[in-house]
Symmetry: C2
Subunit: 354 residues, 2 copies
DNA sequence: CACAGGCGCGTCACTAAGTGACGCATAAGT
DNA sequence: ACTTATGCGTCACTTAGTGACGCGCCTGTG
């Protein structure tokens, strides 16, 4: 096989050093798994051979020193018995094939604006090299003398901006590896109203809700799944014990059980009928509530429209409806109407109107 | 310079064919600009030399045929006087250096879940190759016999899901190029209440709001900026006329002028005081409203808290406060309190409670 | 503390591959 | 039909990678 392709593949096999690992830090000395964040020439040889390259150890070693001269971002440690370790510096710029074109670069910049308030910092952090690559492309593409691209794009955020919860990057890393590769881990967790304690977590899944990330897990060998906010962990260390989901565990069923108030009554979609002011309903013509949404004029009252759509009665829907205040009246289903009437009563009382 | 590096750079200089261009479609025969979506050997030579490679045309040609054999995704058209055109197929998988690691891959998958309802389809479309790359990485990383990663992550969306407005991909491409490189364009636009018409647009910027993308532009040589929803364009064609922002135009000032009801009264942050039920305020401890947020107990009423923070009085804030219904009472500033009281009155009337 | 095993690396002759120069073939525009 | 710019085949030449071998260093172990 070709020289060029072998080296390119080799470069692709070298891992990037995780941001939360210090350059000199030695990965935890876990028995079975290879330490993350670096590879050896022997391991690379094996992976290359698995991809069909007929090569040998000496060639890989030669390639590595050759590439090391070309890429200053490529680093290695001293000579060790287990073989030299090779890795990309954590802050290496991403280079992509095919290169990022301005169209894709714009998508990245836009995505960043939309995501930054939503994604927890340790995850957002990891996309930074891509944003940087996108900014470089856009800076190149702009006509000279034309103001910077960022000056010509604005995102008006949808929700109220809130400061994101600070998650320990190392905790995020451990939880993620545990969940991805199926290991248990030992963690120190600070419950909301109790003392800091140490548990063994058997991870089942992650839930992102309202800018907070929750780990769903069982503790030790107890059967009942519980959830834990990631920003309440102070420490986490992988164990060499395989994770085992409790028999019959279904993630969606667990969510639907109401733990996260995702779905109120029951999950079945039903017909929702609204009376909305024209101003409030204006944007529904552009971005409908559902594929079967139907907007008709209200014959008796000019300036008002009748909107109906098939929707699931979620907390989000209630929040969204409340946002319109008196610009919307819920006609059906009755349970939803009753809920909004209760709100109205409560509000009147709160401000001493009744 | 090295052989390997030159070829790698060369690959990076070859553009990806835009998705909205047919494989055989010839780019618009605009005079000054090179057609997008492909390059010639001569152009590549020039770019390589600009990057410090001492090379010649023949070498570039040889490299191209060499790489063509290695990468089936690399395509070219027949021999033409202007030089052969070279490009990556639109659906080429992205390959990155350093490779996407599972941690970054997770960020991409999460980002997709959060973005898909927010980003207009033609922009979201462009990130698909990256999502695909991330899914490949995660599929490799998972322990065998462990259920798929997607089954272990859920995002509970924040807003009410709405169907995104369908933007013509070619329109998005033209608007973007015009804005990025500074050209005017001719477009057919369907205003909300008037007939379809053709205008010459002098683009100034893009605004993303509530899942709709707006182009801010002046028409012909009129001085006043206006905004146009991208999904209302039926066609757009680049012109070879440079775009010129009207003298003194300031994008932020235009937005603040209230065109998009971004900021209500004035933009200055002010102290907001709230009385909230403990349940409603619970998440503010995790994700504060502002850095200086302050939560204290309400002495008279158990189960209630006093929250104060310095905020800008935006439409988003009002929507957010309405979402809590009677679980929050606005104490200050008075204008905001008056607004919520008016809402409560309106609601009581709407449901015939008063 | 000495030993063994891995691994990195220097070196050799050999072989494969890229280089520069030249000329002809080919397609688009005049 | 002519011009021009580009692609491409081919030559001897030069550079760079290959396979094989052995030395020495580092590490972990007895």
């Amino acid at each position: 096989m070709s020289d060029f392709l072998r080296r390119l593949t080799l470069l692709g096999l070298i891992p990037r050093r995780p941001q939360w690992e210090g350059a000199a830090a030695v990965a935890r000395p876990s028995a079975g798994r290879a330490p993350t964040g670096k590879t050896s020439a022997a391991a690379l040889l094996e992976q290359l051979q698995a991809r069909g390259f007929a090569t040998n150890l000496r060639a890989v070693q030669r390639d590595l020193v050759y590439l090391d001269k070309l890429f200053p971002e490529l680093e290695h440690d001293g000579q060790r018995a287990g073989g030299r370790g090779w890795w990309w510096r954590a802050d290496t710029q991403v280079q992509q094939l095919p290169a990022l074109d301005p169209a894709m670069a714009l998508s990245f910049v836009m995505a960043r604006e939309l995501l930054d308030p939503l994604l927890p910092p340790p995850l957002a952090q990891r996309l930074v090299p891509y944003y940087a690559a996108a900014e470089r492309v856009l800076a190149d593409a702009g006509a000279p003398g034309w103001t910077a691209w960022r000056e010509r794009v604005r995102v008006i955020p949808e929700g109220q901006p809130l400061c994101p919860a600070p998650i320990e990057p190392a905790v995020m890393g451990v939880v993620q590896t545990a969940l991805l590769e199926g290991w248990r881990f030992r963690g120190r967790y600070q419950p909301r109203e109790r003392d800091l304690a140490e548990y063994v977590f058997n991870p089942l899944g992650l839930v992102f809700r309202a800018r907070v990330v929750y780990l769903v897990a069982t503790l030790w060998d107890y059967p009942d799944p519980r959830h834990f906010a990631l920003h309440r962990f102070t420490q986490a260390d992988l164990l060499d014990v395989a994770a085992t989901p409790p028999p019959g565990f279904d993630f969606d069923a667990y969510l639907a059980s109401g733990t996260f108030d995702y779905v109120t009554a029951d999950g079945a979609p039903q017909r929702v009928e609204l009376r909305m002011s024209e101003a409030a309903a204006a944007h529904l013509e552009e971005t409908p509530l559902s594929a079967d949404q139907c907007i008709t004029a209200e014959p008796q009252s000019p300036g008002w429209l009748r909107v109906s759509a098939t929707l699931r009665e979620t907390e989000q829907l209630v929040w969204w409806l409340r946002g319109f205040a008196d610009q919307v009246e819920i006609l059906a289903p009755p349970a939803l109407r009753a809920r909004l009437i209760a709100d109205a009563r409560g509000l009147a009382e709160r401000y001493g109107l009744s």
